[in-house]
Amino acid sequence: MTDVVMPQMGESIVEGTLTKWLKKTGDKVERDEPLFEISTDKVDTEIPSPAAGTLGELLVQEGQTVQVNAVVARISEGGNGAPAAAAPPPAQPAEPAAPPPAAAALPAVAAPAPAPPPPPAQEIKQTEAKDKETREPAGPLSPLVRRMARENNIDLSQVTGTGAGGRITKEDLETFTRQPVASAPAPRTSVTRAASPSPAVPIGQAQPTAKTRIEPMSNMRIKIAEHMVMSKRVSAHVTTVHRVDMTRVAKMRAKHKDDFAARYGMSLTFLPFVARATVEALGAFPIVNASIDGTNIIYHNEIHLGIAVALENGLIVPVIRNADEKNVLGLQRSIVDLASRARARQLKPDEIQGGTFSITNFGSFGSVFATPIINQPQVAILGVGTVEKVPVVIDDAIAIRSQCYLALTFDHRLIDGALGDQFTGKVKSVLENWSEEVL
């Protein structure tokens, strides 16, 4: 028999109200399974079972207030002569219930189906942005609005304010950035962020039919969508593609692969080689490692390399800080570490901030080449295509070489075509003439 007691929830708490039994007398319970809920001072707490077994008589009724450490029920272990073997955890040490840590394993409280609310009529914000009259922003601007305008390069005189006295609000900026640029003829539904109470569903198109299913976007999806559209609007995207002979790197990799895996417990991929070559090239062409602030160019003295990581339902770009201080081994380690923590959502905020250039490795999904979108406020991103063996002509003979395409998307506002190609050419030449030892 294990006593189930009202737990100590804090220094000043001497009693609590048992608000709800989550199990009945006779129910089998697992250790740490939520057993009942208590309420103290506007805090509702799930209390886990201190032991596994069968719940005996409930000594306290719902709604009753009891002192801390009072026994509220008992649990008999072992179950009543349950047939041997299988499930029940073997003989718990029959110590009396240690004061249960207020721990409970309620698995992720399944979110109630997003109730489609009848859109209250207020607040269906009109996009008044067709109003062409240019004027100075009315009224004072909040620091947030100033910052958003600066970061997104928005000309505030083009924005219609809907706040008090015509003030420009955050929502106005969001509406503004969402607008299709200039005269784009009826584009696909652009990203709409919660202007209406039922988020992201443009009014009038949201009626589910037998052949459709409507689901609100996740928060991450909304952010990705906003970022992508914002980037396309802000930068003048141009993509240049270079073909790279990876044979030397492939040989180097093949030579060290097994040793590397044995020594460090991770496989050696092509990506850290590309990252290493990119860092070399960024050192040679610092403007590719820069960002734009209004009409200023910000040169970053440090190279913080973003690596795009695909998540189950989205993507994130964790940053390898001071990537120029790392060799292939160090880069591979960072990539593996950041990618695995990204997938476990264990990244810290400063690990996803401050990147100065990004790499996206769509080759790992079989893509030969793609045209990536720049990760603002950076000015370029390198896309790495899949490495494969192909026949190539060398000195009028056909040879088999490992090859990949590198696609650099750059912001033509800052980087001219010639420079973009010089940069990519530098990455290519480091890879083709690979000389650095790996181990």
């Binding site: 799930e46 970022h227 993507l315």
Partner: protein, 220 residues
């Protein structure tokens, strides 16, 4: 100092916000992720806490629906309350084992965050013994209701900035026949973003957090 990430989710429905909270909380319970402070603004909704009494709801559900108000039961502590535009709803999702394992201290600390914030806007607010929440001479200005599981908190507080107080007519807020008020009703025309900034600063001070505001462009 521990990190706390601030996320402003904007105007989102109660259920959707609850889904987001649950997801973060279940990660925290497994020791993953970081503590977070979520800000939301809900469309009109009345929620009934675990200690909720039907008699504190003064209108029939059909009447509420007609008025464009949703009704939800929730697993937070406390009775009946209203959320709507002009109100800052904050959900601190934190592992109290890394702070103090003390629900009383947690609630008192939230009250202090609110009192300090209101003081920045020259509103004198205080506690009333036995009546959790934050009070002014004109009535209750902020409500608190929390849920704990494995010492990880969900739900939090609602501060009336420019809430349309008419909506409280449908309920007996928290089961108390005392008036509610808002910053606007007290003559303070505060910008909601500035109030959030003050809340973030005081929350960091009181809980000893390094507050990290979510950065635009976090994901590409």
């Amino acid at each position: 100092m521990r990190d706390c990430v601030v996320e402003d989710l904007g105007r989102i429905g109660f259920s959707e916000a609850f889904g987001i909270q649950s997801k973060i909380a279940s990660e925290r319970k497994q020791g993953l992720g970081v503590d977070r402070l979520l800000f939301v603004e809900h469309p009109h909704v009345i929620t009934i806490g675990r200690n909720g009494h039907e008699e504190n709801l003064l209108a029939k559900e059909a009447t509420l629906r007609r008025a464009g108000i949703e009704l939800h039961e929730t697993d937070r502590g406390g009775d009946v309350t209203y959320h709507g535009p002009g109100q800052i709803v904050a959900y601190p999702i934190m592992d109290l084992r890394e702070w103090k394992r003390d629900v009383g201290a947690f609630v008192r600390a939230i009250e202090q965050v609110l009192i300090d914030t209101l003081e920045d806007f020259r509103i004198e607010a205080r506690r009333i013994g036995g009546l959790t929440g934050v009070w002014t001479d004109a009535g209750k200005i902020a409500a608190i209701g929390v849920h704990l599981s494995r010492w990880v908190s969900t739900h939090g507080w609602a501060l009336n900035v420019s809430t349309d107080l008419e909506y409280f007519q449908y309920i007996v807020p928290c089961g108390l026949s005392r008036p509610v008020t808002s910053m606007a009703a007290l003559g303070v025309d505060a910008n909601i973003e500035e109030v959030k900034s003050a809340l973030i600063a005081h929350f960091g001070q009181i809980f000893d957090f390094e507050m990290q505001r979510e950065i635009v462009g976090l994901y590409i």
